[in-house]
Amino acid sequence: MNISRRKFLGGCGLLLGGSSGFISSLLSGSGPVALRPPGAREGKEFLATCIRCGQCVEACPYDSLKLFGLGGGLAMGTPHVEARKVPCYLCTNEDELKCIGACPSGALEPVEDRSKVRMGTAVINHKTCFAFNGVTCRVCWRVCPFQGTALVYDKRMRPTIDPKACVGCGICEEACITEKSSIVVRPANSNEGVG
């Protein structure tokens, strides 16, 4: 090596001091808000553990998972679910959650049961939801895999979400018949009040 030891270490120190603090503050301030695959570790920890190999994307039988591109910023190369396009079907026809089995690094941790998955919580927009505006519509209730626990109908035939039971799979978000979905999953890693 042509560079002297002192220069080498000094340069490293400068680079480190300058930028690691900056990025770490960026990361802790606001982790990228995204609906992560089932079993994903919490926001910043997920970014730290995921090796961006894309094996979960390949394992997903429904093509629900996509990798972030340049637009994902620091989350580039990590998987996420765009529920309005293709939600997570929780591998209902499979023996296990395929993405968790495929993950080599442990960024996706095994879950005991599908009902224990916590990708996020569905939130209903009362202004646009048909049921809240006098038209009976049971689409979200019909498709919910935890019908009756996560999504319940009240006496006036309006859907309500139980944040303790909702897994955040987004099947309701995809199914909602209003032009812009009236039921949207708020990802578990978003900072606004979850649960």
Partner: protein
């Protein structure tokens, strides 16, 4: 044979082979992603063969360990396999598998050909600069300490190798723009990424420092032409014969050597081969120059160095 008949082109076997293996890796990645084959899955940082045998990029694994702490044991099996391979074979990943290395290799060949054309026409071509060496290790250290202190695997997020993988395998095209810029830049700074920046290459180089698998120099054949074609064709900018001429070693000791075989393919006298020759031992204790012994080395069983030392 007619002296004027064009010389038959020498088959560049190592070049063909290494491009085939790298291309095959890329093809397998794409076929796996398309679900055309069931036994191969993964991207540039981690693959799985037959659903059982894992391979994970050792640098990615280390970054993740430093950044996130506890991980699945599977990752260590995958990384361990590649570490073992690098300990034994040196940084062969760079020369024979790396998809980015493959693209930049083709890019370099193209730029060489175009340069040659321009040169033949007598025009002044693009400037040709020497990429700085020795930056890879500080960058590697930076990437690793960044993982430790900021808890973020920096290189895995902004690695052009991954950009290429995501672009081709998963259809995330954004990063390919960066690669385009890199390819254009390398027309002026040949192999800038591999030689100067790639922390993964630096990591594999460190692992492969004592690897027995090397480019071996035939002591009896060396020193005949002194053409220096090996050095001008080395993508990593290694003075290929230096270790032999100055120290009398029978192999290339430079840790940057990726065993790509570009030097073997251009050598007119088959001085170089790939093999398990290790670092080798010096021919004699005296360090004599090989240059004056050109003629004497033709004689059988007479070593070049001793001839040089006695002064032909």
């Amino acid at each position: 044979m007619n002296a004027k008949s064009p010389k038959r082109k020498h088959l560049k076997i190592h070049t063909i082979l290494r491009r085939t293996t790298a291309f095959l890796f890329l093809v397998l990645l794409v076929l796996g992603a398309l679900d055309w084959i069931s036994w191969f899955r993964g991207g540039t940082t981690g693959t799985r063969i037959f659903g059982i045998v894992p391979f994970t990029d050792p640098l990615a694994s280390l970054e993740v360990l430093l950044a996130g702490g506890v991980t699945k044991p599977l990752i260590w099996i995958g990384a361990g396999l590649l570490v073992l391979l690098a300990l034994l074979l040196g940084p062969v990943f760079c020369g024979w598998i790396c998809p980015l290395g493959f693209v930049l290799d083709l890019n370099e060949t193209l730029s060489r050909k175009v340069r040659h054309r321009i040169h033949l026409k007598g025009r002044k071509g693009l400037p040709l600069l020497e990429p700085p060496d020795g930056l890879r290790f500080p960058l590697l250290l930076f990437v690793l300490s960044f993982s430790l202190f900021a808890g973020f695997p920096l290189f895995q997020t902004f690695s052009p190798i991954n950009f290429l993988g995501w672009g081709i395998v998963f259809g995330v095209w954004g990063g390919l723009l960066v690669l385009l810029i890199l390819c254009i830049l390398e027309w002026v700074l040949p192999r800038f990424w591999c030689r100067s920046l790639c922390p993964l290459g630096g990591f594999y180089s460190l692992l492969g420092k004592a690897a027995p698998f090397r480019i071996c120099i035939s002591k009896s054949r060396a020193g005949k032409t002194l053409c220096g074609l090996c050095t001008t064709h080395c993508p990593m900018g290694i003075q290929v014969m230096e270790n032999f001429t100055t120290k009398g070693f029978g192999s290339i000791a430079d840790s940057r050597c990726t065993r790509c075989g570009a030097c073997i393919d251009v050598c007119p006298k088959t001085v170089l081969t790939l093999g398990f020759c290790g670092k080798g031992k010096p021919l004699t204790q005296e360090l004599g120059p090989a240059l004056p012994c050109r003629e004497s080395s033709f004689k059988k069983n007479e070593s070049c160095l001793s001839g040089g030392a006695h002064g032909t």
